[in-house]
C-alpha cells in the first residue's frame, strides 16, 4: 500500500465555480515533496485561487525552474500547459511565452535558490520588463533538494539544522522587487491561505509582473529551533500590514470600512483590490515609503505580510514593445512571415 494516489472521489457537496468546475478539477498529480512542506500548501492556495477566478485550466501556463519549487507545478492544474526550465532561467522562458501569446494566463513558480541565487539576473530583467506574469517565490531559506545548505534568503543569525549560524546578509525579494521597479509586490506565508489566496488572485489580475514572496517552511531542513523560516518563528514574527480582498469586477464599492481603514485599488481589468487593516503610516501605493517601512520592519525582525506595493499605472511589456495583440499562433502565415521583401524594407529603415 505504498503511496496511493489521491482518490478521485470527491465530496458531493463541493461548490462549483462559474465554469461548473470544482476545486478538484484544478488539482494536479500527487506531491512527492516531504510531508508537511509549505510548498504543498502554496499549491493548494494556487488551486483555490484559480478555481475562484473561474479560469479554464487549459488556458493557463505554469512555468518553473529547478529545486523543490521547480517540482510544484506538477501538483496543480494538470490540464494547464507547463514548462520546467533550467535552473534560474524560468523568467526568460516566461518572457518568451508571454511575448508569443498574451491571451493565456501565466504563473511562474520559483524558489529562493532559483530566483535569488542562480537566477537573480533573470528575475531582475523580468521585473524590469514588467512581464505580465504571476511570479511566486516559495521561500524557505535553504537549499532543500541538496540537503539544507543556507540559501541567499537565509537571515543573519539563522541556524542550520546542525547548529551552524548564517553570517551572510540575505537578499530580500520584496526590497529587491521594490528597488527594481516591480509594480506588484507582496509577501505572504504558506500557513495563511486566507491571506495568500486573494493575493494570488490579485496577482493574476494585475497587468504586469506580480511578485509574491511566500515564506514556505522546509519541514525537513529548516523547521527547527533557531530557524527564522520555521512555522512557529514565522507565526510569532508575522505582522500583517495589509489584508487584501480581491473583488472580481465589482460594480461599486460598498462602504463597509471606516475611512483610513481601507484602500481600494481598481485593477486594469475592472477588478477591485480592497486593502484593509492597513498599518498606520503605511501606504502601499507609495513605493519609497513602502521601501522604508519594510526595511525598517526587517531590521526589527518582523515578517511584514500583505500587499506591500501596487502600481496599476505602469506599462507592461506588450505596451512598451508595441507587440501585436493577436497570439502568434493565430496570426496568418503571411503576417507572421511577410517574406524577404518586408525584411529588406525593415533593414532599409535601419540604415
Amino acid at each position: 500500500m505504498s503511496w496511493i494516489a489521491k482518490p478521485r472521489i470527491a465530496h458531493p457537496g463541493l461548490p462549483k465555480n462559474a465554469l461548473g468546475l470544482t476545486r478538484r478539477d484544478y488539482e494536479g498529480g500527487m506531491s512527492t515533496l516531504c510531508a508537511g512542506c509549505g510548498h504543498d500548501s502554496i499549491t493548494a492556495a494556487i488551486i483555490e485561487a484559480f478555481y475562484g477566478l473561474n479560469l479554464p485550466p487549459h488556458r493557463i501556463v505554469k512555468l518553473s525552474g529547478i529545486g523543490c519549487s521547480g517540482k510544484t507545478p506538477t501538483y496543480f492544474l494538470s490540464q494547464a500547459h507547463g514548462f520546467n526550465g533550467v535552473h534560474g532561467r524560468m523568467p526568460a522562458i516566461a518572457t518568451g511565452a508571454v511575448g508569443a501569446n498574451r491571451e493565456l494566463t501565466y504563473v511562474g513558480i520559483s524558489g529562493d535558490g532559483d530566483s535569488l541565487s542562480i537566477g537573480l539576473g533573470q528575475l531582475a530583467h523580468a521585473i524590469r520588463r514588467n512581464v505580465d506574469l504571476l511570479y511566486v517565490i516559495e521561500n524557505n531559506g535553504v537549499y532543500g533538494l541538496t540537503k539544507g545548505q543556507f540559501s541567499a534568503s537565509a537571515d543573519v543569525g539563522s541556524k542550520a539544522k546542525k547548529g551552524a549560524e548564517n553570517l551572510q546578509p540575505p537578499i530580500d525579494p520584496v526590497l529587491l522587487g521594490l528597488s527594481l521597479g516591480a509594480t506588484f509586490v507582496a509577501r505572504s506565508f504558506s500557513g495563511d491561505k486566507e491571506q495568500l489566496v486573494p493575493l494570488l488572485q490579485a496577482g493574476v489580475r494585475h497587468r504586469g509582473f506580480a511578485l509574491i514572496d511566500v515564506v514556505s517552511p522546509c519541514v525537513t531542513f529548516n523547521d527547527h529551533e533557531g530557524s527564522t523560516k520555521s512555522y512557529i518563528y514565522t507565526r510569532e514574527h508575522l505582522t500583517e500590514v495589509t489584508d487584501a480582498d480581491f473583488v472580481e469586477r465589482m460594480p461599486e464599492i460598498r462602504a463597509s470600512y471606516q475611512p483610513g481603514e481601507a484602500i481600494d485599488v481598481r485593477l486594469h481589468d475592472g477588478g477591485m483590490l480592497r486593502l484593509r487593516k492597513v498599518a498606520e503610516g503605511f501606504d502601499p501605493t507609495d513605493r519609497d515609503r513602502a521601501y522604508a517601512y519594510i526595511s525598517e520592519g526587517l531590521r526589527d525582525g518582523e515578517v511584514l505580510t500583505g500587499l506591500l506595493h501596487v502600481d496599476e499605472s505602469a506599462l507592461e511589456m506588450h505596451s512598451v514593445s508595441g507587440t501585436v495583440e493577436t497570439p502568434l499562433v493565430d496570426l496568418p502565415f503571411e503576417d507572421l512571415c511577410p517574406g524577404s521583401d518586408a525584411l529588406d524594407a525593415l533593414q532599409q529603415g535601419f540604415r
Partner: protein, 609 residues
C-alpha cells in the same frame, strides 16, 4: 465546541457506521478484512462473538448495517455486508474446537427459557460456558422458533439452520420439545423444575386478523405466519391458482414467494399505500417481483366476496393518500375494484400473546396487553423473570433478538450473583496504529471504485419448481474480492494528537473528501457552516481537537464522508494524525469487555497486509 473525548469508546464506535447500526455491534470492517485475507473461519468466529448465527443472518438478516454504511453516502450503494457474512459462513472450516468450553462442574444455577428462538438460544449460548444449566421449553417438535417456522427454506436452508442451532444445543442445553408452557404460575411454582431465573423468548406468535365482511365465510382465508408455519411443518403443500396476499411487509414477501412455489400461478400482493411506504426490505420486494409476483399499490380491502359459499374475490377501495397538516396520511377513495381470487393470505402484522401468563403473579401488563419490560435490563416487573426477542416489545428481527439475548444473559448472571442488574458492564476499546513505514499502512487503504456486486440467483424455472431450492447462490471468489475492497475500513480511525500539530495544512490540503479544517473554534451550528466543505449531515459528529499549539485554532474533522484512506496521516510530518485500528470491546455475561479475546491486539496488529 468542547474538545472531543475520543477516550470514550462510543465516539469511535459511532464512526464505524455499520457496527454502530448493528444491534449486536458486530465488528464488520474487521471480519470483512479477514474475509479478504481468506481467513473465513476467523471471520466466522468474529461474527459469532456478537451475532451468534452468522450463517443464518448471512441469509436472512434485516441488515440495519447496510443503510448505515458510509459507502452509501459516497456512491449510493452500501457494501454488501450481509452477503459477505454468508461468504465467511459458507467457506469456514470446522469450528467445533473454537467454541467455548463447557465446564463439567456446574455452578448450581438453573435457568428456564420459554421458546427456542434466537433470543433463548443466545441466552443459552452465553450462560452455558459459565456453568449454568439451561432448559429450553419448545411447543413444536423442533427448535428454532420463527427461524424455522416463518422463514421459507428457499431463503434459509434447513441444514444451515440446524448446524448453528446445534452448536448451542451441543453445549448441553436441556431441550424439551413438544412441551408448551401453559402457565407461568406453574413454571414459577416449580411444577416444571426449580429455576433461579426465567427467560421468556416466546416471540410474537399471533398474526393480525382482518375483521371485515366475509372473513369467516371461507376456509381459504389464512393468517400469514400460521400459514407459513403449516408449510414449514409440511401440513400444507398446495395452494390454489389465484392468491391474494394482503400486506406488504417481509412476511407478505415470504407468503407470496412460497405461494408461487406450491401451486400459485397468479399471485398478487395488495398494498394499501404506495410504494414508498412499503415495509418490506427493498431486496425482498425485488426478489418477489423477479419471481413474477404482482404488487398492486393503493388498494384498501373492504370485504371478501363470497358466492355460493365459495371465496371468489376480494373487494378493494382504490385510494389516494394525502398528507394532512398534522403530518398524517389521509385517504381519498377514488372508487372500488373486485379482484377475483381463490385464496387470501393475511400478512398485515403480528403481535405478542401471553394467554399463559397469569395476570396476578406480579408481571404487569400495559394497556395494549404487553408486559412491562425494562429497556436496559430486560427484566419485567417480577424479579428474576426476563423477556427478550419479539416477546419483549413486539416484532423486530433476528439480530435484535440476539442482542436482547446477550443483554438478558448479562442480567441473569448479575441476578444470580445477587449483583444489581442495573449496573451494566462498561464497553472498552483498543486502538492500535496501522503504520508500517513512511507511506505504508497495514490495511487496504486505497479507495476502490468497484460497484456493489450483484447476487447471482438460481434460474427462475428451477427455483419455482421446488420449495427447498435456495434462491441466492452466494458470491463467487471474484465477487467476494471485489466487494471486500469496497469496504472503507471505518474502524481504522484517524487519530489526532493535538500537541504534535505544527499547523502546516498538509492534511487539510490532501483530504480527498474535504473532511478537515483548521479554524477558530465556535458553536457547532456555526462551525459546521465554515468548514472546508459544508457539514450538512447532522447525524454525523464533528471531531474537534484541543486548541492547537501555535495559533490556538482547532482541528475539525467532519466524520461524515471520511474514506479512511490515511492520506492525512501520510502527509503529516509529525505523526499528529495516525491511522489506528479501533476495536470495540463488548462485555458479555461473565466476560468483561475484551475478556473473550485477550490476544486480539496481537492478532490484529500482525495479521494482514
Amino acid at each position: 465546541m468542547k474538545p472531543t473525548d475520543v477516550s470514550d469508546p462510543q465516539y469511535y464506535h459511532k464512526v464505524v457506521d455499520c457496527q454502530w447500526g448493528c444491534p449486536a455491534h458486530t465488528n464488520v470492517p474487521q471480519y470483512i478484512r479477514l474475509i479478504a485475507q481468506g481467513k473465513y473461519t476467523e471471520a466466522y468466529m468474529l461474527n459469532r462473538d456478537s451475532n451468534v448465527f452468522p450463517g443464518i443472518l448471512g441469509r436472512t438478516c434485516d441488515r440495519p448495517c447496510e443503510p448505515a454504511c458510509r459507502r452509501t453516502r459516497l456512491d449510493g450503494e452500501p457494501v454488501a455486508i450481509c452477503r459477505l457474512k454468508r461468504v465467511a459462513s459458507d467457506l469456514r472450516g470446522d469450528i467445533e474446537d473454537l467454541l467455548p468450553r463447557i465446564p463439567t462442574q456446574k455452578n448450581g444455577r438453573r435457568v428456564a427459557c420459554v421458546g427456542s428462538g434466537p433470543a433463548s438460544l443466545t441466552v443459552a449460548n452465553d450462560l452455558l460456558p459459565l456453568g449454568y444449566e439451561v432448559t429450553i421449553f419448545e411447543k413444536q417438535d423442533r427448535p428454532g422458533g420463527l427461524m424455522w417456522s416463518n422463514i421459507p427454506q428457499f431463503r434459509l436452508p434447513p441444514a444451515v439452520l440446524k448446524e448453528e442451532i446445534d452448536y448451542i444445543l451441543d453445549m448441553g442445553v436441556d431441550l424439551r420439545l413438544n412441551t408448551p408452557v401453559s402457565s407461568m404460575q406453574a413454571l414459577l411454582d416449580g411444577e416444571m423444575g426449580d429455576w433461579d431465573a426465567i427467560f421468556v423468548g416466546s416471540g410474537a406468535p399471533r398474526g393480525k386478523n382482518l375483521e371485515i365482511e366475509g372473513r369467516y365465510d371461507s376456509e381459504r382465508i389464512h393468517i400469514g405466519i400460521d400459514w407459513l408455519e403449516s408449510v414449514a411443518f409440511g401440513h400444507i403443500d398446495r395452494i390454489e391458482d389465484r392468491v391474494l396476499v394482503i400486506g406488504v411487509g417481509n412476511t407478505a414477501m415470504d407468503c407470496c414467494r412460497t405461494a408461487m412455489r406450491i401451486g400459485g400461478t397468479d399471485v398478487k400482493v395488495m398494498a394499501r399505500k404506495s410504494r414508498e411506504h412499503f415495509k418490506a426490505s427493498p431486496w425482498e420486494l425485488e426478489d418477489a417481483e423477479e419471481e413474477k409476483v404482482e404488487v398492486l399499490e393503493n388498494h384498501s380491502p373492504t370485504r371478501f366476496v363470497i358466492e355460493d359459499g365459495e371465496l371468489v374475490g376480494m373487494d378493494f377501495e382504490l385510494v389516494d393518500w394525502h398528507e394532512g397538516e398534522d403530518g398524517r396520511l389521509r385517504k381519498e377513495v377514488k372508487g372500488n375494484r373486485i379482484i377475483p381470487c381463490d385464496t387470501v393470505i393475511l400478512a398485515i402484522g403480528q403481535e405478542t400473546a401471553f394467554p399463559w401468563i397469569e395476570r396476578d403473579i406480579g408481571i404487569e401488563f400495559n394497556e395494549w396487553d404487553e408486559p412491562l419490560v425494562d429497556k436496559a435490563t430486560f427484566q419485567c416487573t417480577r424479579e428474576g423473570v426476563f423477556f427478550g426477542g419479539d416477546a419483549a416489545w413486539g416484532p423486530e428481527n433476528i439480530i435484535w433478538a440476539v442482542e436482547h439475548g446477550h443483554q438478558a444473559a448479562i442480567s441473569i448472571h448479575q441476578y444470580c450473583q445477587d449483583l444489581p442488574i442495573g449496573d451494566r458492564p462498561p464497553y472498552g476499546m483498543n486502538l492500535v496504529s496501522r503504520k508500517m513505514g513512511l507511506h505504508e499502512w497495514s490495511y487496504s487503504n486505497d479507495y476502490d471504485e468497484a460497484q456493489r456486486q450483484k447476487m447471482r440467483h438460481v434460474q427462475l424455472e428451477q427455483r419455482l419448481q421446488e420449495l427447498t431450492v435456495e434462491v441466492e447462490e452466494g458470491f463467487d471468489l471474484q465477487q467476494t474480492l471485489n466487494e471486500v475492497e469496497r469496504c472503507l475500513n471505518c474502524d481504522v480511525q484517524t487519530h489526532f494528537t493535538t500537541n504534535l500539530c505544527i499547523e502546516c495544512d498538509a492534511c487539510v490540503d490532501i483530504c480527498p473528501l474535504n473532511c478537515l479544517t483548521i479554524a477558530p473554534n465556535g458553536d457547532e451550528e456555526e462551525l459546521r457552516g465554515r468548514l472546508s466543505a459544508p457539514a450538512v449531515n447532522l447525524a454525523q459528529d464533528l471531531y474537534v481537537s484541543e486548541n492547537l499549539p501555535q495559533t490556538a485554532r482547532v482541528m475539525v474533522k467532519d466524520e461524515d464522508l471520511c474514506i479512511h484512506c490515511g492520506l492525512c496521516a501520510e502527509r503529516c510530518p509529525t505523526a499528529a494524525w495516525d491511522m489506528r485500528q479501533y476495536d470495540l470491546e463488548i462485555p458479555y455475561a461473565g466476560l468483561e469487555a475484551g475478556a473473550r479475546h485477550p490476544d486480539r491486539v496481537g492478532v490484529l496488529a500482525g495479521s494482514d497486509r
